[in-house]
Assembly symmetry: C3
Homo-oligomer: 100 residues x 3
């Protein structure tokens, strides 16, 4: 099975940012995403007993170049103001040409 | 903590394929899976504003051999006809013998 | 985009363990988590047709040290008694200092 290496970018954020973040994902050059609702407790010292709100988890399979672009936008526009978490991992994708 | 390296296969597909894909996962030799419902926008040019349906995300921890078998079946039987995304990553698993 | 390498620990377990596992996650030194409900079929020979219950998937971004601590607790206290799956992967995180 021939695969190609792509980057899977995961973004966890407050649900209120859904529309805005999906626009950033598309603008960065991503060809698709999945979106899931999750519960979460952030790293700002809020305890789960005090607040356990609805967060969103967005995942998108992209090239290294698109990943860099997306993370840069997140770091500049969102990280200073919102409880956004973003991380990247390498994955082996079947039919990787779909995501370029 | 001793761990062993296994492959985590992720499949994202239309919800209508749930039963069929879970059979493929089991047939390939997988010992278990998790299934989650997610929203998604694929790479076929459909815009989220036009269509944002219910997709499924299946994850299964398997050996390299089982991963290859599963991806081959997906590529041959599903990729030509359905909006299926599949990718693999290496993970470190505790009690890895459970999945062999 | 400068990133740092962190460990993403994923725990899949029966939903009844939610409170207990989140306490273990916090005790190990984790600064946050996401929690999602998933369907799952374990590796204990239970067939999906017989039982397909609600499981939880917890993910937490931590240092290698915290990951080791958490996995050790899981292996000692939970693995002998419950259908718990745990695995770790390396991810590249933006603003990694938040999770240390």
């Amino acid at each position: 099975m021939q695969t190609s290496t792509m980057k899977l970018v995961t973004i966890v954020a407050e649900a209120v940012l859904e529309d805005e973040l999906l626009k950033e994902v598309a603008s960065s050059g991503s060809k698709g995403y999945t979106l899931d609702r999750v519960h979460g407790e952030g790293s700002r010292g809020v305890r789960a007993s005090d607040w356990e709100g609805k967060n969103i988890k967005i995942e998108t399979l992209v090239t290294q170049e698109v990943a860099d672009k997306l993370l840069t936008v997140l770091a500049e526009k969102y990280f200073p103001h919102y409880a956004v978490v973003a991380y990247v991992k390498s994955v082996e994708v079947v039919r990787g040409d779909k995501y370029r």
